[in-house]
Structure formats: structure tokens, C-alpha cells
């Protein structure tokens, strides 16, 4: 089946079998292996990508369902060699150790803070409950998110001006 979508600003056309999830399609057919596949049944959040502006679990979505969608994966977060404020905050605050859950965490936070730059700490904690981390612990992740939040607020303000 022919499926077309835009991923990180690039138009792609793929031919996934019906049973292929978007996560596997991105990794195996589009060769974007930054999206990680953890539990494959929608619990861990490692495979989170942004579809049409909203964070979604790419293991709970068929590649076929992404036809016509605009997708952002972790590879699309920084457009050049420079890290974004979100990535810098994770680096500075030790928001990752093994890094397996990190792409999903960053995609979740990028979607959240883009839509809700003034999200409270409670809201951030609530949203992050959909992403499991088994080594870093959540405190440095939340500290990173809170630090990066200011940059999203600046962006929102300059977009308004």
C-alpha cells in the first residue's frame, strides 16, 4: 500500500504492509532510527512522535494511518548542528543517562511546550506520566523541562509580537 507523509519537512513515499506500525515504518523504511520502540503496546512512550502537531505513540498507529500527515521525529528537533534549548537543558541538567526513553520524552515535551508554553510543573509532571524512564529518574527530566519552558515562552511572545 502506498503511503505518503511529510517527515521533518521532507516528503516521503513508503510501501508498508498493513500490519506495520508507524514506529517500525519510520525506523525500517524511512531509516529514521531516532524513534525508539520499547514496549510496543502503548505503555512506555519511547516511540512518541509528533503527528500534525500532537504527540502520539507511533507504536499505536499504523503506518497506513499516517497517510497525508505531517510528522516530526527527534531527528527534526534541531535543524542544524546546534542543539535546541530543550536539548541543551537536558544536557545541562543530566536529564538522560542511557538515552533510550529520551527521544520520546523530548517529543512529548516539545509538543506540550509548543502548545502550552506556560504549562505548570504539575501539568508537566502529569503529561510526563506517559513516558517511562528506567535509569535517570524523573527529577532531572522535570528540571530540564522547567528550564527549557522559558525558551518556549520567549518563542510564543516573539510569535505574538
Amino acid at each position: 500500500m502506498s503511503v505518503q507523509f511529510v517527515v521533518n519537512g521532507r516528503k516521503v513515499e513508503v510501501d508498508p504492509p498493513a500490519r506495520m506500525t508507524l514506529a517500525d515504518c519510520l525506523r525500517q523504511q524511512v531509516k529514521l532510527t531516532g524513534t525508539h520502540v520499547g514496549c510496543e503496546h502503548g505503555v512506555c512512550g519511547a516511540c512518541t512522535v509528533i503527528v500534525d502537531g500532537e504527540a502520539m505513540r507511533s507504536c499505536l498507529m499504523l503506518a497506513a494511518q499516517a497517510d497525508g500527515a505531517t510528522i516530526m521525529t527527534i531527528e527534526g528537533l534541531s535543524s542544524d548542528a546546534e542543539l535546541t534549548p530543550l536539548q541543551l537543558a537536558f544536557k545541562k541538567n543530566h536529564g538522560l543517562q542511557c538515552g533510550f526513553c529520551t527521544p520520546g520524552v523530548l517529543m512529548t515535551l516539545h509538543a506540550l511546550l509548543t502548545q502550552e508554553p506556560y504549562a505548570s510543573e504539575e501539568r508537566i509532571r502529569d503529561v510526563l506520566s506517559g513516558n517511562l524512564c528506567r535509569c535517570t529518574g524523573y527529577i532531572p527530566i522535570i528540571e530540564s523541562a522547567l528550564e527549557a519552558r522559558a525558551a518556549y515562552q520567549d518563542q510564543a511572545r516573539s510569535a505574538q509580537a
Partner: protein, 283 residues
């Protein structure tokens, strides 16, 4: 695990979807947030998935004078964002805050939740408590089922092979109605170990009338608690009356024991949650 193989269809009209659903062992794909996991676990292996995403109008929220109509493809996110719903049916929006995680809420649908029929899910519980009417369409025509009759057991509904949920109709509320929703889960976004949804109206002498109490998570399907309702109907809500209703609720549930909690614990939890809900609703 990877999903078992199936044929994928994305029809653009309901008629076309109904025709495709005649395939033996075909299943409707709405948001896929429950169906795809149970397929990954091989608890379901449909021959075909009929995706409703291209059929226009199925994601509409309509509030009329008498009822709220939710299309089956309305997502939790849509319920959360809708401006009129919280005022029209506050119990619904309050309960929906407990549904799943952020990413799931962006895809999961109300129709999918009903068809999946998880006994611990919030929306089926609200549908049963609020006397929702479920509109169905299939090869043999259309019919309407009361939410209380829709659920037969865990992950089991009275939907016939090939039938599709086309709309969920929830009656509108009088402004002064008292209501509350309480649930307990071990982590945020997890399924409830037990939950209580309730509402009642006060008569001229401040006695509870028209008491509706629904329970989730502690029974094999969402259901009302007629014993507890009877203990409250026509009564002013004193501590003594509330205690009686809670005792009746504990006696009329038959909870399962699993790794998350024993039957005794869940039974006791039902009483505690009902007590909290009644205190909240009456204050």
C-alpha cells in the same frame, strides 16, 4: 509483539464501512489505542480493520436543547478542549480527565472506548451512569441501545458482528444537579482500581431524588448500584444515610482479585470512593 496480519480499509462513507464490516472477523479501527495493544498481545487477531478516519462528521460534538451528541471519533482531547461541554455535562469532562496519558488522549476515541468495553474505563461508566443511548448501524439497519445494556462482560458488548457505533447521545442536565466523580488508580493515567460516578437532584425539602450511581473497575462491566441508589432516594444526605448507602454499595459489588488488588480491597475502596463522592456532591 508485532501485530498479526490483517487487511486494512479506510472507507470514505458509512455505507461503505458497513459493507466492509460484513467480512468475517472484521473490526472497526477508531483511535486504535485499545485495539492495537490487544492485537499486539494476540488477544485479538481481526481479519480486517475498517478505519473510520476518512468518514466525515464522525468526530462532531453537538449540544442541543435536550442532548449531547458525541460522534464515535471524538477524541479525549476534543472533549477536553470543547468549550461548551464542561457546562453542559460537568461529570463527563471531570471523569475524562482521568483517561489514560497525554499521547493516548490525542488519539483515543469515545466510540472506541465503548466498543472495547474495559470494565475499568471511565467513559463506559459515565455512559451507563448518565443513561446514554448508543446509536448503532449495521447490515441489518440502525438501532439504539441503552448504555446499560451495551456491556455484557469484560471486553464484551452486545454489538452484533459488523455493527458500528455511529453516535453517543447523553441527556442534558438541569443546572442545579449535584454530581461527583471519584476514582483511585496506582499511578496517574492508569486504569482505575475502582471509580464512582454519581448524580442526583434535590427536591424542595433538600432530599435526594433521581439518584444515579455508577461503578467502574470493581465489577466485570460498568454498572449502576441500585442498592446504594435506593438507600439515598428520598433522603436528606446525613452521615448516617451516606454510611448506609456505602454499606449497600460494598455489598452489591463482586470485584475481581488480581495482581493490582484483592476483591476485599476493591470492595472496601468502592465504599470509600462513594463516601467521598457523596460528601463532595452534597457540599
Amino acid at each position: 509483539m508485532k501485530l498479526p496480519d490483517f487487511d486494512y480499509h479506510s472507507p470514505t462513507s458509512l455505507d461503505e464501512a458497513i459493507t466492509l464490516m460484513a467480512t468475517p472477523n472484521a473490526r472497526v479501527l477508531a483511535g486504535g489505542q485499545s485495539l492495537l495493544p490487544i492485537m499486539a498481545f494476540r488477544l485479538a487477531a481481526p481479519s480486517a480493520l475498517v478505519d473510520l478516519r476518512k468518514i466525515k462528521g464522525l468526530d462532531k460534538i453537538e449540544i442541543t436543547q435536550d442532548a449531547i451528541h458525541l460522534g464515535p471519533m471524538v477524541r479525549w482531547r476534543d472533549v477536553e478542549r470543547h468549550e461548551g461541554l464542561a457546562a453542559a455535562l460537568p461529570l463527563l469532562t471531570q471523569a475524562m480527565e482521568h483517561v489514560a496519558h497525554y499521547q493516548i488522549r490525542n488519539r483515543g476515541t469515545v466510540g472506541g472506548s465503548l466498543a472495547h468495553a474495559d470494565p475499568a474505563a471511565e467513559f463506559p461508566g459515565i455512559a451507563v451512569t448518565c443513561d446514554a443511548r448508543i446509536h448503532l448501524a449495521g447490515a441489518n439497519g440502525k438501532r439504539v441501545v441503552a448504555a446499560g445494556d451495551l456491556f455484557v462482560g469484560p471486553l464484551e458488548t452486545c454489538l452484533q458482528d459488523g455493527e458500528i457505533i455511529t453516535s453517543i447521545e447523553l441527556p442534558r442536565w438541569p443546572q442545579a444537579r449535584r454530581w461527583a466523580f471519584e476514582e483511585f488508580s496506582q499511578r496517574r493515567g492508569d486504569f482505575a482500581l475502582a471509580g464512582i460516578a454519581l448524580f442526583y437532584d434535590l427536591d424542595g425539602e433538600r432530599r435526594a431524588q433521581n439518584v444515579h450511581i455508577g461503578v467502574i473497575g470493581a465489577t466485570d462491566r460498568p454498572r449502576r448500584l441500585p442498592g446504594a441508589e435506593a438507600a439515598l432516594n428520598g433522603q436528606a444526605l446525613s452521615d448516617e444515610v451516606i454510611a448506609k448507602a456505602c454499606a449497600a454499595a460494598c455489598a452489591e459489588v463482586d470485584p475481581p482479585t488480581d495482581i493490582h488488588g484483592s476483591a476485599e480491597y476493591r470492595r472496601s475502596l468502592v465504599g470509600t470512593l462513594l463516601q467521598r463522592a457523596l460528601v463532595k456532591a452534597s457540599s
